[in-house]
């Protein structure tokens, strides 16, 4: 009867909003075997598709360029960038905050949505987590190379040394070191742990001895016993609980770099929530940028369904409005506080020489997500992809605006200056994308990009419910 009819409809599309039943999380007539096949096939293909080679070739070349830029930078000096006084941070820290922001979505999806029992996360969590890790790698690189003497960066860690010198625990930059490295560690643990059952699946299916050995090592002897599953579920829950505050703390700490300083435009209490919202916003946009083409190319439309995309669009809309609210409240507070230096920074942002950057940011981050009020826009992959790209651009500009426009006209007008990036900075930014995509493409090729075990779990549920 009716159930059967709904069932058939669910095979095609899960966008219905019938409050009486849950929308299915996997489309098509899938069972455990087909899901395993679908996901493992990508890894097991003897040769990846040509497109992968092309993409990987480009990404690797760009990474090579990044390497050359870093070599040039470290051998010559930070002067190869366009920094000056008063603008001692430019693309370097902009890129750092941008990539850290991207790195937020993965753990948010994995940890927070897990704790909130948002089962739709299963389709996207694996590659969102991978994206997080690669983004954090890119992010971590920038503070490392932006220093004048990069070979002494280890002084930022509280390592025992003969001088009995500690780092300065009052410095937000040091907090950054702790926050980002903790986040990185927990993210890797979370990602890897979640992957163990899937790695075991690949191990079991592979015919190659070498692959079997390697996947075997990383599968840590997983046999899928009840006891294993029990331990696994507990540990996963625990890690999710540990990771959840990190999602909020990392970007809060990153925002302290600015918020605890004296600079008008930086010195604002709104920064931690504002940065976290922005990071989620940017992170989800990046997940969309990756998900939309991946589900197409790797035939994963059944697992990453239109409903997934729609949900993410809604998050984008919500966080975009939070960010917009932050922009507005910053202006309000700068006026309300009666601090003339603060007031000038914001007027200068909107109408000064970097107004173009400011309005690009506002357009991309506040205006474009508004299209997602429309249901049709939320379901059109082209529009989704376009808006997500826009949001990424906008979020990069947000960091640029915060850093550069605050610095370029600070307290003493005698020091005011302009900042123009050099080709080295621009190439380094492009190169960081090369590094990101190189890692991501390697991930797609060698690791299960969808969490099979978890999808199977929600599949069971769906079947159960449907029955």
């Amino acid at each position: 009867m009716g159930v059967a009819a709904i069932d058939r409809r669910d095979v095609r599309d899960n966008l219905g909003d019938d409050p009486g039943r849950r929308a299915p999380l996997v489309l098509g007539k899938h069972d455990n075997a087909t899901i395993t096949d679908k996901v493992c096939r990508i890894v097991e293909m003897p040769k990846p598709p040509k497109a992968w080679y092309v993409a990987f070739g480009i990404a690797l070349t760009v990474t090579g360029v990044l390497g050359a830029m870093l070599a040039y930078l470290i051998s010559t000096g930070v002067g190869v960038w366009g920094l000056n006084k008063p603008i001692a941070w430019g693309f370097d820290i902009t890129n750092f905050v941008f990539w850290v922001g991207i790195g937020h979505a993965g753990t948010l999806i994995s940890a927070i949505l897990y704790l909130f029992r948002q089962n739709w996360r299963t389709g996207i969590n694996r590659f969102a987590e991978a994206m997080t890790i690669f983004a954090v790698i890119c992010a971590g690189m920038f503070p490392g190379i932006h220093t004048g003497r990069a070979w002494l960066d280890y002084w930022l860690f509280p390592l025992p040394n003969q001088m009995a010198m500690w780092p300065n625990f009052r410095s937000p930059l040091l907090w950054d070191v702790f926050a980002v490295s903790t986040y990185m560690t927990v993210s890797i643990c979370f990602w890897y742990m979640g992957m163990i059952p899937d790695l075991a699946t690949i191990r079991d299916r592979t015919t190659s001895k070498l692959k079997g050995a390697i996947y075997g090592i990383f599968a840590l002897g997983w046999r899928g016993s009840n006891r294993h599953w029990h331990r696994y579920e507990r540990a996963y829950l625990l890690l999710a609980a540990i990771a959840t505050p990190l999602v909020l703390s990392v970007h809060s700490v990153v925002s302290f770099d600015f918020a605890t300083s004296m600079m008008p435009g930086w010195h604002a209490t709104i920064f931690p929530p504002y940065f976290v919202a922005g990071a989620i916003f940017g992170g989800f946009a990046m997940v969309l940028v990756l998900a939309v083409p991946c589900r197409q190319w790797f035939g994963l439309k059944d697992l990453i369904t239109p409903r997934h995309l729609e949900n993410m669009c809604k998050i984008l809309l919500a966080t975009g409005m939070m960010v917009g609210y932050a922009y507005a409240i910053e202006f309000f507070i700068s006026w309300y506080s009666g601090n003339p230096a603060e007031g000038f920074v914001f007027i200068n942002r909107a109408f000064g020489p970097y107004a173009w950057a400011y309005w690009t940011m506002v357009f991309c981050n506040v205006a474009t997500p508004q299209v997602f009020w429309s249901r049709r826009a939320r379901q059109n992959p082209w529009i989704i992809f376009g808006v997500a790209i826009c949001v990424n651009v906008g979020m990069w500009f947000e960091r640029f605006v915060i850093i550069v426009t605050s610095l370029h006209r600070d307290f003493l007008p005698s020091s005011w200056n302009m900042y123009f990036p050099t080709w080295v900075e621009v190439t380094t930014l492009v190169g960081s994308f090369g590094l990101f995509f190189t890692l991501f493409l390697l991930f797609l090729r060698f690791l299960p990009m969808v969490a099979m075990a978890e999808v199977k779990a929600v599949l069971q549920k769906q079947h159960h419910e449907a029955r």
């Binding site: 010559t76 000096g77 930070v78 002067g79 366009g82 920094l83 000056n84 006084k85 008063p86 603008i87 001692a88 941070w89 503070p143 932006h146 220093t147 004048g148 003497r149 990069a150 002494l152 960066d153 002084w155 930022l156 010198m165 500690w166 780092p167 300065n168 009052r170 410095s171 937000p172 930059l173 040091l174 070191v177 770099d257 605890t260 300083s261 004296m262 600079m263 003339p340 000038f344 007027i347 200068n348 109408f351 000064g352 020489p353 610095l407 006209r409 600070d410 307290f411 003493l412 007008p413 005698s414 020091s415 005011w416 200056n417 302009m418």
Partner: protein, 1007 residues
């Protein structure tokens, strides 16, 4: 054991003379030196032998690790008095520039001069120096200096020669000239005040009676000399004592930095700017270009330079109408002065000036700049006499060389002699006439046509390339000499180091030309001084002069009597007309950096921002905002073409508020082609536009040329939009708090009340107490003239690198103390205020909190210290510094250092590597240099013992430094002064460097 016998191989190293001699006793001693092993070596068992051999083979490699260089350490057989190796020693000397000297004390480390300071005993220095005198140190160590003798046949680099080879060439020529009485011999020299050189000149004149000694100074101040000749019938020197002047009128005159007595003027002026007893002097400036005097003036009227004499005439006329009577001899002027009343140019403020000068009879001074014609100078002299200023603030003294023809006259005569073929041998002593002589004299071509040319110069420059012989000149820090200050005070020039490139001084070469044999400079100077000093006790007196650097006693003041019959000259001044339309007056000006061009290769000076424009590495056409708009010049660096009858020039424009409308200033000395690695191609050469008829002022047509040049300024990078400019105005008022004398009298603490400072809560729950010293600084904005001597003194003291045009353009200039400049009011006639800005050593320092590696920390004496070794270069401290005084080494700024250029560094200060932040340290090395001996002696440090380089050099005494814990220190008193305020105090940084509000003394209480 290696053999001790030197003949048996290896290098002949020996331990002592006994060793070398193979002395028996020594051989025995060696045997005894290793008594434990003597047996093993003599009678080893098989095992022991193998053991020893094994060990020897294993250790043999170690001995090969290093071949010890032969180093001869030769002790002083007699250590010079008071010399301690590695300690700073100061020697007195004098530095002559354009014929006027200032006294110096040069610090030396182990025979290496590293810092120049003014000689407090010298009345023309009073302990201070100008920026250029600081730069001469780097000039001496310039690796691009002429490194030896070169002989050139035609163009090219020349063949290296020795002094002996030069003598072989020169002797027959000199003999020939001697025989002919020197008819074809010309000596072209730069002005010098040296009594010894003057003596050599006299000797030359007696040996070669028909030879001509030509003196040329591109920045000649002959106009005043000629003015005195007009007024008094003979050339006189005019001296100003600004300490006695209540009202000063500066007509196109920069009394501070474009004046041979500028340092003493600055000191005297600044002492009367404090307003403490409710009185201040007042300065009126009437000028075309913005000068430092104009910036410090209480009123400044921008007027085309050609109209400045008219302004003076109108003031004179007004004073005559008010009943001023002219002095005896000047009565004939009345008619001439009345002619000015009908001139088209007028300004209501001129009446106020007249009234002001009249009210301050006997307590005023009228100064006229070197650009103005002689008649204007004469008129000013007449007015000073009539007002009773002569004998008070204005005095006269004899010219040291009254018979000398004017510079322009002399060089024109030389040019005509050259073209007439009257010159066989031309000796050029210093200067750079091929570069800086008036263009229409075509001196470069004419010098090239003489076959026997001897050029003595510090550099192998434009003139050298035209001469047969280039002889390296010894720098003044390398040679003996003497010099007189503008006031006549004579002093000895004492060498601090052997000539780096084997150069000889102009004195020695002039003596050689006269005598045909070399006499050491020391002998020549001593000979001269043996006539100046009393014969009885000469040695003692001579030692005293060398030690002190000066011989006390200036030229005596005299009361000159006016000559008659020069009214016509003054009347002609009234014919000056105002330029308008596309015709503008082009003014040539001395460059604050490269002077007349001679310092073009001195990185410190080339990179020192011009006080007004903040321009480095370039000169530009300085235009008023309205002229710029009319020409279509939108941004600084837009190119303009200047067309004169004699030629045209394309150069970048710079919009300078306060430049007189219709007047464009171009600094001379830039655009050198053979200056060296630093100076070549920096700026545009304006000398080709300068002719004998228009030495200082020409009429030019300006037009915008497509294109734009990259000008590196250290302030106002890029065009600041209206939004930014408005904010700048608002902030400048709070940064440089200014009040009139009347406001100060009514409320002395007006500055403190301009910005509300939040209640001071304790910085920490563990309050830091400074029980020992508590260093602090106070900068008096009322006396700062903005000359930037502090910037360059700091650069020299603290080994601050020069970064180059491109880096400066990027905004990476390195000077630890900069002088911020803000305009105020109407852009066509703005006021100007300076603010030296350096590390404030904040008590609650924003930089310290954010450094992740604790590389910048507070010390127990309140200094915010920068630990270079610890710095990783995150630059966070710079971002968080509200004063933006931190400087980052973006590159290795010492990459191109040579063995010679490295010698300039102060060994007490670390040379920073790339990737490290640096900043003002309050000259911590100087603090320690005082603190340690005081501690050893168990005595307290008295106030004024510790003087940072910036405070030391300041001619205006605007910077005070000392211990805030000392209740009697000057800095404590200034911090407690009613005028004292802290910049950005409202953000709770608690700065240790505080400012004293700027006071103005406008007429009738308003600006």
């Amino acid at each position: 054991m290696p053999p001790l016998d030197p003949k048996s191989g290896g290098r002949a190293l020996w331990r002592s003379l006994d060793d070398l001699a193979g002395d028996k006793a020594f051989q025995d001693a060696v045997g005894r030196e290793f008594p434990l092993y003597a047996d093993e070596m003599l009678a080893p068992s098989r095992r022991e032998f193998l053991m020893l051999m094994g060990a020897s083979v294993a250790l043999a490699g170690m001995t090969a690790c290093r071949r010890w260089p032969v180093e001869n350490i030769v002790p002083f057989s007699h250590r010079p008095e008071g010399y301690v190796p590695g300690e700073r020693l100061q020697f007195a000397t004098s530095y002559d520039r354009n014929g006027a000297a200032i006294g110096l004390l040069v610090s030396s480390f182990d025979g290496r001069p590293i810092k120049i300071e003014g000689n407090p005993l010298h009345p023309m220095s009073l302990g201070a120096t100008d920026p250029i005198a600081q730069g001469t140190l780097l000039q001496m160590y310039d690796p691009d200096r002429s490194t030896g003798l070169f002989e050139r046949a035609g163009q090219g680099e020349g063949t290296p020669r020795t002094w002996d080879e030069f003598a072989v060439w020169a002797e027959p020529i000199l003999a020939r000239h001697k025989a002919s009485g020197g008819a074809g011999l010309r000596i072209l020299a730069e002005p010098s005040s040296s009594p010894t050189l003057l003596a050599q000149k006299k000797r030359l004149e007696s040996v070669y009676p028909q030879a001509v000694w030509v003196e040329w100074d591109p920045l000649t101040r002959d106009a005043e000399r000629e003015g005195a000749r007009l007024a008094f019938g003979r050339p006189l020197r005019r001296h100003l004592d600004l300490g006695k002047a209540d009202v000063v009128l500066a007509l196109d005159a920069d009394l501070f930095m474009d004046d041979p007595a500028g340092l003493s003027h600055t000191r005297a002026w600044a002492r009367r700017r404090k307003g403490e007893d409710g009185v201040m002097n007042r300065v009126w400036a009437v000028e075309a270009g913005y000068s430092l005097t104009g910036a410090s003036a209480d009123h400044r009227i921008p007027v085309q330079s050609a109209l400045v004499p008219v302004a003076l005439g109108r003031i004179a006329a007004r004073m005559l109408r008010s009943g001023l009577t002219l002095s005896a001899g000047c009565e004939g002027l009345r008619e001439a002065i009345e002619r000015f009343e009908s001139h088209a140019f007028d300004d209501p403020r001129l009446d106020t000036i007249a009234a002001d000068l009249l009210a301050a009879r006997g307590r005023g001074a009228i100064a006229v700049g070197p650009r103005q014609p002689a008649a204007a100078h004469a008129l000013a002299m007449a007015l000073d006499a009539a007002l009773g200023n002569s004998g008070n603030a204005v005095t006269y003294a004899d010219d040291p060389e009254p018979a000398r023809p004017g510079h322009l006259e002399a060089i024109a005569k030389l040019a005509s002699d050259l073209s007439a073929g009257l010159v066989e041998t031309l000796v050029i002593l210093g200067g750079n006439p091929a570069f800086d002589a008036p263009a229409d004299l075509d001196l470069a071509k004419r010098i090239g046509s003489v076959s026997q040319t001897i050029r003595v110069g510090l550099y192998d420059d434009e003139t050298s390339s035209l001469c047969r012989w280039q002889l390296p000149e010894a720098h003044y820090l390398e040679a003996w000499g003497d010099a007189r200050g503008w006031d006549g005070t004579a002093g000895v020039v004492q060498p601090l180091i052997e000539p780096l490139y084997g150069g000889r001084s102009a004195i020695e070469i002039a003596a050689y030309l006269a005598a045909g044999a070399w006499t050491p400079g020391y002998e020549l100077v001593r000979t001269t001084w043996s006539t100046r000093l009393p014969a009885a006790g000469f040695e003692k007196a001579w030692r005293r002069v060398v030690h002190d650097g000066i011989e006390a006693g200036a030229a005596p003041a005299l009361t000159p009597v006016f000559a008659a019959g020069w009214g016509g000259e003054v009347a002609r001044l009234a014919e000056a007309r105002q330029l308008g339309g596309d015709a503008m007056e082009l003014l040539f000006a001395k460059s604050s950096a490269v002077h007349d061009g001679r310092f073009a290769n001195c990185g410190w000076l080339v990179e020192l921002p011009d006080p007004m424009t903040k321009l480095t590495w370039d000169n530009a056409a300085l235009l008023s905002p309205s002229d710029a708009e009319a020409l279509g010049v939108k941004a600084i660096g837009d190119l303009v073409t200047m067309s004169l009858p004699g030629g045209s020039l394309v150069l970048p424009a710079f919009i300078l508020p306060g430049q007189a409308k219709g007047s464009v200033t171009v600094n001379l000395g830039w655009g050198r082609s053979r200056a060296g690695r630093v100076g070549n191609g920096a700026g545009v050469d304006a000398y080709p536009l300068r002719t004998a008829a228009s030495l200082w002022r020409a009429e030019a047509k300006l037009a915008r040329t497509p294109g734009s040049a990259m000008l590196a300024t250290t302030q106002d990078h890029w065009v600041v939009d209206t939004l930014g400019r408005k904010e700048e105005q608002v902030r400048a008022e709070e940064l440089i708090r200014t009040g009139t004398l009347a406001e100060y009298r009514a409320k002395p603490e007006f500055a403190r009340e301009m910005v509300e400072v939040p209640h001071a809560a304790p910085i920490s729950t563990y309050p830091i107490e400074y029980n020992g010293h508590k260093w602090g600084m106070a900068i008096d904005l009322s006396s700062c003239i903005g000359c930037a001597a502090c910037s360059i003194a700091c650069q020299a003291e603290n080994n601050i690198p020069v970064v180059g045009r491109k880096e400066t353009w990027r905004g990476r200039d390195m000077q630890w103390i900069r002088v911020d400049r803000y305009f105020e009011g109407d852009p066509e006639s703005p006021g100007l205020a300076f603010q030296p800005m350096t590390c404030h050593q904040c008590e609650n320092a924003p930089c310290e909190q954010v450094c992740p590696v604790a590389a910048t920390v507070h010390d127990h004496e309140g200094l915010n210290v920068m630990v270079y070794n610890r710095c990783v270069g995150t630059r966070y401290c710079s971002n968080n510094c509200p004063y933006k005084v931190r400087r980052f080494n973006y590159f290795n700024n010492h990459k191109h250092e040579t063995a010679v250029s490295m010698m300039v560094y102060n060994p007490e200060v670390t040379v920073r590597m790339r990737g490290v932040m640096e900043k003002c340290s309050y000259c911590v090395q100087r603090i320690n240099a005082v603190k340690i001996p005081a501690k050893n002696a168990g005595r307290p440090i008295s106030d004024g013992e510790v003087v940072p380089a910036c405070a030391q050099v300041c001619p205006a005494e605007a910077i005070a430094f000392g211990d805030l814990n000392d209740p009697h220190s000057r800095v404590r008193a200034l911090h407690d002064d009613a005028r004292c305020y802290g910049v950005l105090e409202e953000i709770n940084t608690r700065p240790r460097t505080r400012y004293l509000a700027r006071l103005r003394n406008p007429a009738e209480g308003k600006a």
